[in-house]
């Protein structure tokens, strides 16, 4: 495509630009903040001061940094789960609901065996939390695999169901009798609590996130099954032609994706709340979608992006005292994704100079 009035043209790159992969996220962050500052300005705030306060709040103190990591743990685990499904063009946007179901199952273990300082309580919580998240995702994966039922809608609808289910429990049968009528369960025993790290709210879930990233990287890039997932995602027809079992892979990938989201829920109740409560997640499952896309579905990239978004969450919390609603964070996240999507065009194309009239084409 020739740009009118110039000797420049946009042409398709055969191999996407690799430097653009690195540069685009940073430009996108800058542009998202710039547009966000317009909204801040017109609602009577000083944008630069707000952003500075957010940055300092998230990264400027020991407390800020540890809180950022606390938020980055569920975002990493969820981001990995969601990214795995996205690889296969399975749009799992039910991370939020799978997180709640994981938290529910883990809480069931913790409440059923309260006095138990038994060693198996923690592994059982992890296992059942992952199983619950996986099965919740399987509810949508089966109709998707068998009849092509749109998983975007079904996974999202089940988010509402899962949240109401947890609300039912914490407002009803599981409500802590000693909890002054607040919607939360009794506190977990020592055996059901993930150990804390660095004398802060950071907990052992950190290791789950890192381990999951390493394992997923190995699986996706260095196993036959990972190869099948990548091929199916990029070219479903080719995958079928090569004899890959797409139905089975859809079920497995969605199960694994849901299991990771369930693990994130288990970490939140066992590592942070030490109980199940209403409003367990401030929309981590939705933020994870952006984390996954921004990291270009690469498991290792998920970790730094999750830290960035954890920081955004903490920074947003810090400026709430200045009267800035928490919804600003979600607005910025949406803007960021717009710019990243727009920027992807640049990775696939490049600007070239056309030869002038009479100039030999080399």
């Amino acid at each position: 495509m020739i740009i009118h009035g110039t000797r420049l043209a946009i042409e398709k790159r055969l191999i996407p630009s690799s430097s653009a992969f690195i540069v685009i996220p940073f430009i996108s962050i800058f542009l998202a903040l710039l547009v966000g500052s317009v909204f801040l300005y017109f609602s009577g705030h000083e944008p630069a001061a707000v952003y500075l306060k957010m940055f300092k709040g998230a990264f400027g103190s020991r407390y800020g940094i540890t809180e950022t990591v606390v938020k980055a743990i569920p975002l990493t685990i969820l981001g990995l789960g969601v990214a795995l499904a996205f690889r296969m063009q399975l749009w799992n946007i039910g991370g939020e609901g799978q997180l709640y179901m994981g938290a529910f199952a883990a809480t069931w273990v913790a409440l059923t065996f309260p006095a138990g300082s038994a060693w198996w309580v923690m592994p059982a919580m992890i296992l059942l939390g992952m199983l619950a998240g996986g099965l919740w995702a399987l509810l949508t994966a089966v109709p998707r695999a068998l009849w092509g039922v749109n998983e975007i809608i079904t996974t999202l609808m089940l988010n509402y169901v899962a949240i109401f289910w947890v609300d039912y429990l914490v407002y009803g049968p599981w409500k802590d009798p000693a909890g002054f009528n607040f919607p939360l369960t009794a506190v977990f025993s020592e055996a059901a609590t993930l150990p804390g790290l660095f004398d802060s709210r950071i907990h052992a879930g950190l290791f789950f996130g890192v381990a999951a990233a390493v394992i997923l990287y190995m699986v996706i890039y260095h196993t036959r099954w990972g190869y099948e997932i990548r091929v199916t995602g990029e070219n479903p027809a080719a995958a079928r032609y090569a004899g890959m079992n797409t139905t089975r892979n859809i079920l497995l990938v969605m199960m694994l994706s849901g299991a990771l989201c369930g693990l994130a829920g288990m970490c939140e109740v066992s590592g942070i709340g030490h109980r199940l409560q209403h409003g367990l997640s401030p929309g981590y499952g939705y933020t994870a979608i952006i984390v996954a896309w921004l990291s270009r579905l690469n498991p290792f990239a998920v970790i730094p992006v999750a830290i960035l978004f954890g920081g955004l969450q903490v920074g947003g919390f810090m400026v709430q005292t200045s009267g800035i609603p928490s919804s600003m964070v979600y607005m910025l996240q949406g803007l960021l994704l717009f710019f990243v999507l727009g920027g992807e065009l640049l990775t696939g194309y490049r600007l070239t100079r056309l030869p002038a009239a009479g100039e030999a084409i080399k």
């Binding site: 749109n150 975007i152 169901v161 919804s327 992807e344």
Partner: protein, 312 residues
């Protein structure tokens, strides 16, 4: 016996009002998808429509001004999606998700200082003379606010547009086979932009219906998934505006039934009743997808695929 009929009539009447916001949003999404553009930003467009319409109606003391504002806001939101997916050829699923996340955040941000404010000049019920006196049908269909009546006209008008006009033929051609449409001189870009923006305006009306009549206050996330139910409804309606109306009232009826059961002090926990519309949507979607498969009814062929002239 008399009270029982009264309850049934009340539920049916609430089914119509409860279904109306979903109906407008679904009609909008039908237009966009008919043009080949999947827009998952319905929830976000509805929320922005709801909040901007509410603020405008409040300041102008006029719900019609609010409605106009909601349409403009919904259209502006859709324009973002149109630019990203049509001009820049971005992934439609991800762009739509981004629009919903952005819209949810933006609506919460601009609506923060309006939470809990009650709108005095909301849309009120205007029973239609004579028609509203018909037993059962009168109270169910003809004792509502102007936006419900407007929908009675919009549905057949859109059906006519899509299936009986030249413009509708062009629209369907662009959604089914953009390369062929392009080769006979239909502008794929212009058509897609037009219907995606129109779709956003209709989603804006759907959102405004909640904040200007149904509730009528601004509550954060007040759409509560209705935008997503509307996306599901498009498949239920097999991309036909005329079918959308039944589906929308069916979903509205379920909502109404849940609310009614809560007031009747039934022993079922209200949390389970609140789950109903979402579980119902999943089940209906499964049944409808299977039915469509059996009858070989599919989505518009080019749905979700960016049109690139150079790859023609």
């Amino acid at each position: 016996m008399n009270t029982n009929t009264d309850i049934i009539i009340a539920i049916l009447a609430t089914a119509v009002t409860g279904g109306t916001p979903i109906l407008y949003a679904a009609l909008g999404e039908i237009l966009a998808e008919r043009a080949g553009v999947l827009n998952l930003g319905v929830e976000g467009m509805m929320l922005v429509g709801a909040v901007s319409g509410f603020i405008m109606a409040l300041h102008m003391s006029n719900p019609w001004a609010g409605l106009l504002m909601a349409m403009l806001a919904g259209g502006a939101m859709a324009l973002i999606h149109a630019f990203l997916t049509i001009t820049l050829k971005a992934n439609q699923v991800v762009s739509g998700l981004a629009l919903t996340l952005f819209g949810t955040g933006l609506a919460g941000y601009i609506g923060k200082s309006y939470v809990g404010v009650r709108l005095q000049d909301s849309f009120r019920a205007v029973p239609i003379p004579v028609l509203s006196d018909i037993p059962v049908i009168g109270p169910v269909l003809f004792s509502h606010d102007p936006l419900v009546y407007l929908a009675y006209f919009v549905v057949p008008a859109l059906w006519f547009l899509v299936f009986r006009t030249r413009a509708g033929l062009n629209l369907r051609a662009v959604g089914e086979n953009p390369a062929a449409a392009d080769s006979v001189g239909i502008s794929v870009f212009r058509t897609r932009y037009l219907y995606v923006i129109l779709g956003g305006m209709l989603a804006g009306i759907g959102g405004a219906y909640l904040s200007l009549h149904y509730v009528p206050v601004w509550v954060e996330n007040m759409t509560a998934g209705r935008g997503w139910i509307a996306v599901a409804l498009v498949i239920f309606a097999t991309w036909n505006p005329a079918n959308a109306i039944w589906g929308a009232y069916l979903f509205g009826g379920l909502d109404a039934l849940g609310l009614r059961l809560q007031t009747l002090n039934v022993t079922v926990s209200p949390y389970f009743l609140k789950m109903l519309p979402y579980i119902f949507t999943v089940l209906v979607l499964i049944l409808v997808t299977r039915r469509n498969m059996l009858h070989r009814i599919g989505s518009p062929k080019a749905l979700g695929i960016p049109y690139d002239r150079e790859e023609r």
